[in-house]
Amino acid sequence: MTTRRSILKGGLAAAALTSAPSIIKTQAQPSRARTVRAVMHADLRVLDPIWTTANITAYHGAMIYDTLFGLDANFAPQPQMVSKWGLSDDKLTYTFELRDGLKFSDGQAVTAADCVASVRRWAARSGSGQSMMARVKDTPVVDDRTFRIVLSEPYGLVIDSLSTISTSLCYMMRRRDAETDPNQQVRETIGSGPFLYNRDETRPGNRHVYDRNPNYVPRAEPPSGMSGGKVVKLDRVTFENIADEQTALSALQAGEIDFYEVPPQDLVDELKKDKGLTLEVLNKTGHIAFMRLNHLHPPFNNPDARRAMLHLAKQDDVMGAIFGAQSKSWQACGSFFGCGTPMTNDENTEWFKKGQDIAKAKELFQKSGYDGRPVVVLQATDHYLANPAGLFAAQWLRSAGVNVDLAAMDWGALVSRRAVKKPPAEGGWNIFSTTVTGITFSDPIAFTGQAANGEKSWFGWPSDPLQERLRDKWATAPTLEARKEIAKELQSNGWNYIPHLILGQFFRNSAWRKNVTGVLGMPEVVPFWNMEKAAAI
């Protein structure tokens, strides 16, 4: 006879049966205790860190690839895959020797030929690479572990460029991957980095899985930023794609994830009260929020109109709206290179010290011959910065008697529209706002936004021959001190031709469970080597 009890027993047996495969599977899985589940700032969509400049792909690159040089925590380049290197007396020939025992995850040794091909492909895409390659005469391979970069003229940024932390980073790939057309995406994920990309367990859009690379030979030095010994102390790292911020936060509090790179800023104070969590700013150079002006069309094709914007922008408004007026997470900054970076200086910043001056802005708009046409401000309503920045820009402009067309859209539409060079009334634009890390912003070569070569430069397409000459002079300066001096000239001129306005510098906290330790702070990339995870607290 069938009774309730027998049905219940049958149900339990069925449940046990369906559970059985998981028991078998878990035997092959890395220990959960040594797995860090991380929610990063974006979902990983493209796997080739040279083809795209997306930061999240640079993170992926840092997991599975290695670099010839790496920046330490003080932003000084240190050898990474390279064991020895030297520069000839005429300062034209760099010779690099690779460390012993470097292997790709397919088992092949890393050779000098792999590195030469990788450097060439990277140089075709990266701003710093292009600047360096313009002075490179040859890249001969000497033997399996040695290659050279031969210059046509001395160039002081070779090592800095190879160790750049601004996207795209100079990752070493297999020669056959690196010989892919730079405009085509590399689909393989074979690197010689500290982690292996586990394609079988990865579910695009949901979870990316990285396992410890058992064949990786770390350097002997202690880890420091992107340099030193990349000792992996975890079995596995997963990048979990949790699109909803509130859900990610709840998952962190409940211990379902271990690391949350950028929790929503307005909830940081609440998170600080949670004794199970550690909060820390990992990127000490922060981010720069900036507003780009379109130099191709009126009114900002006129320097007086651009100068008017310098007097209109009020960083406190935008930063206060995002972080709170009293928050210590942001600071106003008047330097063309961001604040707290080696290039920060005080040249030509009287306008900044004076603060917002609407009357002066009105006067300058009139002087520019502003004819009343609407200024098109792109406002990405789903972007934490571009939304309030758009609203404030409209308010500031209106207060100066300028007509505004506030074009609301999502971020996906904004990144598409900002590439349109047509007049604003025909689908173009006048103003958009975005962010970049402080370390990238401070580099006149690596940051494409610092170029002023007209229609070839970044969106806004500013043209200023003097700025281009100064950038070139900066790139070829032999020492850091010399570059700092040239940076003053760059800033002085930069705030005259005004490619963009700074809206503030801010520092976002990362949050992780207390049982996760050894987190290294670095701009642009979150290193997962050196990280440890103890049993849950």
């Binding site: 369906t18 997306a54 999502d410 970049v436």
Partner: protein, 313 residues
Amino acid sequence: MLAYIARRLASTVLVMGIVAVFVFLLLHLSPGDPAAIIAGDNATGEQIAGIRKQLGLDDALPVQFYRWLAAVLHGDLGISIFSNEPVAKLISQRIEPTLSLALMTLLIAVTLAVSFGVVAAWKVGSWVDRSLMVVSVLGFSVPVFVVGYMLIYVFSISLRWLPVQGYSPIDQGFGPWIERLILPSIALGLAYVALIARITRTSMLEVLAEDYIRTANAKGVATRSVLLKHALKNAGVPIITVIGIGVALLIGGVVITETVFNIPGVGRLVVDAISKRDYPIIQGVILIFSGVYVLVNLLVDLSYTLLDPRIRY
């Protein structure tokens, strides 16, 4: 009957064809460029143009449409622009969580809602009726994501009874599978419960006023039998209809619920695809959703013949 089914299936193909054209045009004429998103924030216009060319996005719209339609007619939904994986594979990877969520929601919603509706009609005018209808109104008025966050706060953060988010496939154990579906199903099902409960109540009230029900009561037939055997079956046609119509509600709700509870289903797939303008995925998913919706309505129409023998096709 067979001729009717054939006619309906033919019209399904027509409907899906129209959906395909509209979705394609709507996506490609709306602002946004996947090449700009792929290239990253630091890329120049030149680099974006290179990627656009490589992806074939600078071809004329009719050329792109022809290429996509020809592939679809051969059963190929295309390749994701971002992950470079076949869309069919991505959908198949995501179908289990969505089906699990939808079926669990249906099960909970129909069971609760029909019970609520029947009881409310039986006890019409009483505090039970009023209470159930208040719950129904609330269920219909509170957005899914608000319910979701409240459930997470209470049951996951405060009480720690259930996980906050995620999905565990059924082949990794029934326990983890069901525990991750409970909260999302309740959040998603609440509006559905409200909708079905109200229709059930109204339909039951009509039937309960019929002469044959009075006769059954006069003959001394047990209340349970009167309600479930005599009344509910005859009140079934509108209830089944609203369950069918509610599938559209369910599909829309799945998209939000999967985002709030981080369930890697088809809803999440399409939301992510929309934010990054991954056209082949959006087109593929909408095509499949529209097909499912049309087929569910066909099944609903066919089920009428089982409930009411007077209906013939």
